[in-house]
């Protein structure tokens, strides 16, 4: 490997066939280039999906009620199921060990919301203090709803950042301002921000206030939970699925719903959805590897082909070398080393070029579901190993043929 003479010979042959070597190298370089770009985008998709799921706590589980579709215990289908405070409280008691945070939620529609003379058209929801953690809302100013607000039926509101920029642009801070909901003044106590504008177009008020002031009584529209973090993703998914099923069975029983009736009690586990997405992405990544490696193989075949031509062209020279005492192994080494050299150099240039491209432009790519395509160190390492193997494979058959050249015949070769 560190034999200067051999390197000189390799450079000599490459120098003699610049264009040919360049074109061969190009096929390997583009193979590696495509592989790295594909893998980069695989990672980008993973990042993108991970970001989508960051909007809400990934262990969150949502429950909402619908209409029964199946007859059960003498009850007709088509019955509307209504979740109530008592359902939420009982679940909290029964499953206290499983739950990290919990909140029930009311959706209040059709009320006029005003700030001064301005009419605001934003969603209004009553939530508990823990809802902040379930929604992954970041408080940028002031505070979120707390227990004190709940107990005192406080008329306070937390608004999304989008509302702040839309409505309170002229003010330094909206905190302390009053908005009127159905004519009742609510004091703004906090501003929250989310990854998506859509989720910032909400006004949160205390759950208790929403029920007492706006005649919701004990009705609730939705229950959300998060589960405590698990050691790894697989356990988390399993736990989430188990909890989801337990919760549904319990609520079905309480509301006298047939166990197979899926539309009366709806439970959605973010974890399960994430799991599906991530396994989809794993498959896509696998496919990308496959396509990338096939491209690299096409490049390798090119190198192998060229090396065969090199051996053919140098038959006479190989004959001379053997006549003056080159051992077969020396001939094999010569061809093999050239092949590894060509694949490695061109592969590395393709690799560096594609990595550079990803490094420079990757951070600017923000399409839905693709964020910051990049390649990590392990992938880089496996690509390098792949290259060495590729070069060896590409050189093997030509080298073997070269070593088996018959000296006398080779010397007669023109």
């Amino acid at each position: 490997m560190f034999d200067i003479e051999r390197w000189q010979e390799i450079f000599d042959t490459i120098r003699k066939n610049k264009l040919r070597t360049f074109l061969t190298g190009l096929s390997v370089a583009s193979g590696i280039f495509i592989l790295v770009i594909l893998l980069g985008f695989g990672q980008g998709m993973q990042n993108g999906v991970a970001q989508e799921f960051e909007e809400d706590a990934i262990t969150s589980i949502n429950v909402w009620a619908g209409t029964t579709t199946k007859e059960h215990k003498g009850m007709n289908p088509g019955r509307r199921i209504q979740l109530r405070n008592e359902n939420y409280e009982l679940v909290n008691e029964l499953f206290v060990d499983d739950i990290e945070y919990g909140s029930s939620r009311t959706y209040i529609n059709g009320l006029s919301i005003n700030y001064g003379k301005e009419s605001l058209a934003y969603g209004l929801q009553g939530v508990s203090p823990e809802f902040q953690f379930i929604e992954n809302a970041k408080i940028s100013e002031g505070r979120f709803i707390n227990e004190y607000d709940e107990v005192n039926v406080a008329k306070v509101a937390v608004i999304g950042n989008k509302i702040k920029t839309d409505v309170f642009n002229s003010l330094e801070s909206p905190i302390g301002e009053y908005i009127k909901i159905s004519g009742i003044p609510f004091k703004i106590i906090g501003v929250f921000s989310e990854n998506e504008d859509r989720e910032e177009e909400r006004i949160y008020i205390p759950l208790n206030t929403s029920q007492k002031v706006f005649n919701e009584a004990d009705r609730i529209g939705n229950i959300s939970y998060t589960l405590p973090p698990a050691d790894d993703f697989k356990t988390a998914v399993a736990e989430a699925t188990e909890f989801k099923n337990k919760l549904r069975t319990h609520l079905q029983r309480v509301h006298t719903v047939a166990p197979e009736d899926t539309s009366a009690i709806n439970v959605f586990s973010m974890m399960e959805a994430a799991d599906r997405y991530f396994s989809l992405i794993d498959n896509i990544k696998l496919f990308f590897w496959f396509v990338g490696i096939c491209t690299v193989i096409a490049g390798i075949v090119g190198v192998s082909n060229i090396m065969l031509i090199v051996v053919k062209e140098r038959t006479r020279e190989i004959g001379i070398r053997k006549a003056i005492g080159a051992k077969p192994w020396a001939i094999v080494g010569l061809i093999l080393q050239e092949s590894i050299f060509v694949t490695a150099i061109s592969g590395f240039s393709g690799f560096i070029f594609s990595m550079g491209l990803l490094e420079i432009f990757g951070p600017y790519i923000e399409v839905d579901y693709i964020v910051n395509p990049s390649v990590n160190f392990n992938v880089a390492l496996s690509t390098v190993i792949l290259l060495i193997i590729a070069g060896t494979l590409a050189g093997f058959f030509p080298a073997w043929r070269a070593a088996n050249i018959h000296t006398i015949k080779a010397l007669k070769d023109e």
Partner: protein, 234 residues
């Protein structure tokens, strides 16, 4: 130096075998300059290939400097060729992208000698053949006679026991042929054993002994009065 007993070699040509060497008995002493003569098809090239360990005999014994040459694998044969034999070919067989010096140094590379020593030694031998000033020229920049002299230097550089020359003047005009033969005679004068395969009578008579080969057998083996090539060179 060379002892050959009852050497047989045949080649398979389709269904029938071509018997090329039919029992050759032959020996060469140290310091001899022997010409092997014969028309094409007489088996002289085959004999040289076997002597050069590029080919293996079907039957018979071959001793080189008291050492039996048999059961050679590729690696062993390569090793012996490198250490004991020097080849000179009709078509020079220089590597065309290497300079004269690098060509001469190549056998030493396969001996594992380091670069500096190699080049020193190669330069010494190039000087002996009178081509020191041409050491950094490529074969394409040299005349035929110069190329053959580079090839001779290459054959000599490993200080082999025997030099084997296959029609070494075949590609040269007569003036250059004599110059090359003059060089061969000088090398022989220093005590080197040389075998020359040729079909040219005048070249054969510049050796000290001529072996005539016909149809795979030695028909005549005689000592001759050596014609000095120098007389023709001026």
């Amino acid at each position: 130096m060379i002892e050959i007993k009852n050497l047989h070699k045949s080649y398979k040509m389709g269904s029938n075998a071509l018997h090329v060497l039919k029992g050759i008995d032959f020996s060469v002493k140290e310091g001899e300059l022997v010409a092997i003569m014969g028309s094409s098809g007489s088996g002289k090239s085959t004999l040289l290939n076997i002597l050069g360990m590029l080919d293996v005999a079907d039957e018979g014994e071959y001793n080189l400097d008291g050492m039996p040459i048999k059961n050679l694998n590729e690696t062993k044969a390569a090793n012996y060729r490198n250490k004991f034999l020097g080849f000179i070919f009709q078509s020079f067989n220089l590597i065309n992208y290497k300079t004269a010096l690098e060509n001469v140094a190549l056998p030493l590379y396969y001996q594992g000698m380091n670069r500096k020593k190699r080049q020193e030694k190669a330069l010494k031998y190039l000087e002996q053949v009178g081509l020191k000033e041409w050491s950094h020229h490529l074969p394409s920049e040299l005349s035929g006679g110069q190329k053959q002299r580079v090839a001779i230097a290459r054959a000599m550089v490993t200080e082999p026991k025997v030099l084997l020359a296959d029609e070494l003047t075949g590609a040269l005009d007569s003036k250059t042929s004599y110059e090359v033969m003059d060089l061969i005679q000088q090398i022989n004068d220093k005590g080197n054993t040389i075998l020359v395969v040729t079909h040219e009578n005048d070249i054969a008579h510049m050796c000290k002994r001529i072996v005539y080969l016909r149809d795979g057998v030695i028909v005549k083996d005689e000592k001759v009065k050596q014609v000095r090539a120098k007389e023709y060179v001026q």
